[in-house]
Symmetry: C2
Subunit: 398 residues, 2 copies
């Protein structure tokens, strides 16, 4: 029956104790103090969930804004649509202010600006994450109106108040990430059973999504991939009507979740047989990952990891090399992709508790690419692999 | 086997011919002309997909910005990370400019501002959707830098250049929406087979997600619901460990997709038996929907629909009534929720081709709520129901 789980994995407890959120909030407030920020204004799903525990898929509706304010001391204040009050009341946040939304004439603006003045005064320095990989989830007209109402306030980039705190996962967070990576590994191990030649890409994606759910994932919302002869050139397109054929190289790259925490890794499969160039490219990205893993421990920087992995991907000819996807891995947690980036520009040092992907991409055979990915958590002395290590030789399925 | 589809429904063709996009782009350009806008800057998944056909789940990664410019005449220009070039090349967009992303020192800003100047000059009036239910998917620091580089440009709210065009679905769009609503109806029809008392909420959600995939959905990414004794008080929380018990009222509200088009409706089920207050509340929201349906035809406004449905939800006592979720329905298409809103503040008239949800919510029994939803397309003379109409009496499952 469809509901039965095929999984022998035992899921960890959902949610976190209030102390986890109090610790996160305190760490952010300490950074606010250093930065001279009086109040932090958060507007995105990940930031608000991280601090409050407010967890709902309702964010997929773009209609309503949701806000959380963190004062310099004391507890956060939620300013949210009334439809979310009951869900927010289950969190540790006690000060919840709501309006009937949608309301195009005042979409929470009065509540928000009043609360900012109440918490930090009209001359407050207001922190907002403004840096790379951020955005403010408000209509631009509303942002302008908020700035007009708070004409005497100062605005300040608060990216570094929250980001470094989110980088380091607690043991409870690690437990969730360990589980969803094990679930995803289990789903990938079933690929030879549920995917075979003759299936269309659409059928392949559907079968794999079901395998992820059966293995214990809450969702398999993110799934991209490709299947083309002797290698693929694009890994972000949706599935089409192409039928898996002998000689195709299939990549499935998924971001399954458990309790809002993401696994993010891919696996490659050859259908029936594998061409020599692809076989070699798979070994090369596997070796690049191996070199990255060998290096990982606290203190090693993203740039160093990138250089080490890229060195393995220097081929003996001019037409191959590291592919232009901008980085060779990234942070992982409550978002499919988080900072830092395994890239030459990022000098963030590894710290125990960081959860990272290593994701080397290699260009070969005149436009083909090979991408390989593993997930790990940095430990005091090195790393713990969260995904079950892929084999060096690309697996062949029927 | 997991991959097999239980569906007898035949999916329509994926994608659209270039003419569909040319028509959309032309309609937007006509609105730009009326509004005095020289170039339109789009940054969100839905807007960019609507105009270009660029379709990827990769948007779930928040790392990279993606931009599309629409000049007053001529074809759109895509300014996107290199990782998306291959996927964009499959669309009708020919002018594709890429950078290696992430790049924190210039995340597409130079390419974007150069293209704006090239298309419309340094004194251009630049349109950006700034109104309700919009946001700009760029870091605030980048938006400021773009405004600084384009110091002589004028900025203008372009919400009404694109929104009214998106409101009216073409026949090809209607075909996709008709299909995904039929798929979702099929999945709901299987609830008595796949969901029963004793299952935890997590198991219920997993079983229903699999049922949606088996019925033919590409994704069942959006699924919220609740199951509590004699009615629920919250419909946006994630599932927990509660086991379905006799007397529970279960609501499942899903946003399944096919080829990027959403169904969005819910169904209520009583487990074992139903209490009188819940039975009556279900009839009431069903009757409210029926009254809305009876009214729907071109020219009738959202506010009129809202008033008619609310009239049915006036109870004989002071503690019940229309629930405070802000509206009684909304537009539907490439987003789970779109404008317009079935609300007193929204005077948008119905037009043939609009796809809408009717979604009355009723508060009763001291804090319980009952929400009911159907999807429809407005026709020249009335409406066509896309969801299979729910029964007036809440179904009882084992």
């Amino acid at each position: 029956m469809a509901a039965a789980s095929l999984s022998t994995l035992s899921p960890p407890e959902r949610g976190f104790p209030d102390t986890e959120y109090q610790h996160r909030c305190g760490a952010i407030q300490a950074n606010m103090r250093s930065a001279g920020i009086d109040v932090l204004w958060l507007s995105t799903e990940a930031d608000i969930r991280y601090v409050s525990g407010f967890f709902t898929l309702f964010w997929q509706s773009p209609t309503r804004p949701w806000y959380l304010l963190i004062p310099l001391s004391g507890e956060p204040v939620a300013i949210i649509p009334a439809i979310g009050a009951e869900c927010m009341q289950r969190t540790w946040v006690k000060d919840i202010r709501t309006w009937s939304s949608p309301n195009p004439t005042d979409e929470g603006i009065t509540l928000l600006t009043d609360a900012i003045v109440e918490l930090a005064g009209p001359n407050a320095t207001i922190g907002v994450p403004m840096g790379c990989e951020t955005y403010v989830r408000s209509p631009m007209n509303d942002i302008e109106q908020i700035k007009t109402v708070l004409a005497d306030a100062n605005w300040c980039d608060a990216t570094d108040c929250i980001r470094p705190v989110r980088h380091i996962k607690s043991e409870l967070e690690a437990t969730k990430l360990r589980y969803i990576c094990a679930v995803t590994s289990l789903a990938f191990s079933r690929v030879p059973d549920v995917i075979h030649s003759g299936m269309t890409e659409v059928e392949v994606f559907r079968a794999f999504r079901i395998a992820c759910l059966e293995a214990g994932a809450d969702e398999a919302a993110y799934l991209v991939g490709a299947a083309t002869q002797n290698g693929y050139a694009d890994i972000i397109s949706p599935p089409g009507s192409h039928e898996l054929t002998r000689g195709d190289i299939l990549i499935l790259d998924t971001g399954c979740t458990f309790d809002g925490y993401f696994a993010d890794f891919d696996r490659n499969f050859a259908v029936g047989s594998v061409d020599a160039a692809t076989a070699s490219a798979h070994q090369r990205v596997w070796d690049a990952t191996e070199a990255g893993l060998a290096l990982i421990k606290p203190g090693v920087t993203c740039a160093e990891l990138c250089a080490t992995m890229q060195q393995i991907m220097v081929p003996g000819n001019a037409t191959e090399g590291s592919s232009d996807v901008g980085r060779l891995g990234h942070g992982l947690g409550i978002q499919l992709t988080e900072t830092p980036s395994i890239a030459a520009f990022d000098h963030t040092p590894m710290q125990a508790g960081m959860v990272m992907t290593l994701e080397p991409g290699y260009s070969y055979a005149d436009g083909k690419m090979m991408v390989h990915e593993e997930n790990l958590i940095v430990t005091e002395t090195g790393y713990e692999l969260l995904s079950t290590r892929a084999p060096r030789d690309i697996p062949v399925i029927a």
